[in-house]
Symmetry: C2
Subunit: 425 residues, 2 copies
Amino acid sequence: MIRFYNGLVLTMQGEIKPEEAEVWVDGDKIAFVGVPTAQQLENAVFERQTDLGGDLIMPSLKNAHTHSAMTFLRSFADGLPLHEWLTQQIFPMEAKLDDERIYWFTKLAILEYLSSGCTAALDMYFYLDSYVSACTESGFRCIMCSADSGDANALTAIEDAYVKYNKPDRPFVKYIPGLHAEYTCSKELIEGIGALARKYRTPTSAHNSETASEVAGCIERYGMTPTQLLESVGAFDFGGVQYHCVHLSQQDIDIFKRRGITAVHCPASNLKLASGIADIKAMHNAGINVALGTDGPASNNALDMFREMYLMSVLQNIKYNDAAAFDALDVLKAATVGGAKAMYLDDCDVIAEGKQADLIVIDLHKPNMQPINNIPKNIVYSGGKSNVRLTMCAGKVLYENGEYVIGEQPEKIFANAQRLVDEMK
Amino acid sequence: MIRFYNGLVLTMQGEIKPEEAEVWVDGDKIAFVGVPTAQQLENAVFERQTDLGGDLIMPSLKNAHTHSAMTFLRSFADGLPLHEWLTQQIFPMEAKLDDERIYWFTKLAILEYLSSGCTAALDMYFYLDSYVSACTESGFRCIMCSADSGDANALTAIEDAYVKYNKPDRPFVKYIPGLHAEYTCSKELIEGIGALARKYRTPTSAHNSETASEVAGCIERYGMTPTQLLESVGAFDFGGVQYHCVHLSQQDIDIFKRRGITAVHCPASNLKLASGIADIKAMHNAGINVALGTDGPASNNALDMFREMYLMSVLQNIKYNDAAAFDALDVLKAATVGGAKAMYLDDCDVIAEGKQADLIVIDLHKPNMQPINNIPKNIVYSGGKSNVRLTMCAGKVLYENGEYVIGEQPEKIFANAQRLVDEMK
């Protein structure tokens, strides 16, 4: 077993305040949380004991919307207007992707996830076998969703991927079927996703109401918002997860609530692309599960859940003209428990006995975490990746004190990613 | 001399693109920038040679508006509405400040500044002798401005501070006279600052147009905006620096331009307190010097200029509904050259021979800086304090690879700050 002692634990359960307790990890699971008796300590066999030195252990962060392999487009042609950026720069580059490129660009993203305390990402992209390899070889959870668009011919590939990537003997790999977005898909494809949801009794996913023009276009095409349309075809019959949700109507919010849909908030991307500020407070108050995502590096450009947590908090202040619009604890919940729920990772959400050991150690002995007036607020308002001392996924330490334990050294990943992106230019 | 070699230099002069060059530091000054000849290398005597390993050297960041010692209020009672927060929580705590407390709370801030690549802060607070001690003992530049409010009785203290803290033999210490803000000062005090500016031919400073209600109140009281009022009394006769500038009129912007006033943008604070988004693009286009500031930790809560750079960029996007509203290079300029100009640190702005050696080394070998498509964009859009490898002020290395060289260890500063804040609660 691995023992973490002499620190604080934020379980993200119950009252949610840091408490003095030990955490023991056995295999991939949390075996014990609390103050052990002398007898318990005597009986335990530890292969590793980590003195937290007063630092904090908490659930790892979960990135509920991203396009990881788009690391190759970081700082590439930013600053162009959106349409030119997409058509003149992004699409021609994406056309050159292949398995090798996806593999290394995803590995690069995983380095950044781990250094910022994230152990799972809900990824929408292409060449999924390469993505599965990059993640599973790194020990990082691989949760994918459909990036498909176009006409109903895409349905076969979506159904095949659903069957292929959801195997009981591969708990690290999951696939949620769905659409890229309403505006990139034919009516038949959208209806087909509804049929697929009913056939397999599965949740579905899509980009939803990211921009005002997307919603206006959908209303023009179908007389309905994207949310109403997806519900009408049955795509929400078994729940699901929708990305961005910047321009939801009250009726849309009611549908999310009724159907148990997770809304994934991507504040950095929505700022950078000038999409707007989602009404997270309204969704939260309606009882909708809210998760947080970075979106891809082309539209962020970081893959840093601390930045998303900070933005989630302060953007609601400016939206509501209220310096106390949204509670820091609810932000922390979205980044941990909410994200796990979005990915249907029910056993990766909190620090409790029997749960998966997906956890991080936050270094409280950095100037941005001092003094200790309120630890959750410190994390949300002034925390950052420099406070991540250790990242563990399924009981394995993947990142610690700036070093990675994922099979490859960062320099090799950087060199391969740079070579491959230079070849594409 | 200290030699930095085998890396890139972003001088922030001329075309502003990273170039392969060495930087040599002699005493407190930059002695050489470029590719040395064999002869130059042979003649030079180096006490230290640092292999940059491909990393980047650039001017340090300058924090042009802060209240450093307010670290003690980090995460203290955030989440209350503004008025209650101020009157019930902040003011009663501030009343308990003294010299010892200011000293340690400022030291805590300096740790955070150095870890995020900042070597100078324009500080508005109280107990200035303690602030001077905390800064100068740490090797950090001490630029202060008046925090005074109330009636004309404050003028004596302001004039005394101006004379006391501006000595030719203490280049590390400066004091800019001025006001806390129009709405906290009597008409006589405001007029007195104008007279002081003329008497000493000095720039002045103040919080200006931070909130819409502040501007409305000023117009009600004086029939003028705060900017018009300050100009009318002569406070801008010799330039100056104004903080926040969220709600400037076009006429105000014209005055800033005509009078050579620096506008200090504090995007994180303006978001958190729901003050609004300053029109930085309009100011920049008008040719006004724009600098960046964190504001105090009570209203931020971090003291991280990378966060401010990121926010400066994306908030203009959302304000202008344009994904390409503001150039990343102009953000970098504001955080370096613009900040130096705001503080009248004319010799601390760029990497050039004869300038003060106030510089940082950016670690490009972290996942958030890869691949290298565009370094300035990487820094602004995805950079952070984890990329700061070294911070040098006036030729002295104050921070390197997570370790501080400022006379005291962080743990001692943390312990003193925690003890003192606990005594105040």
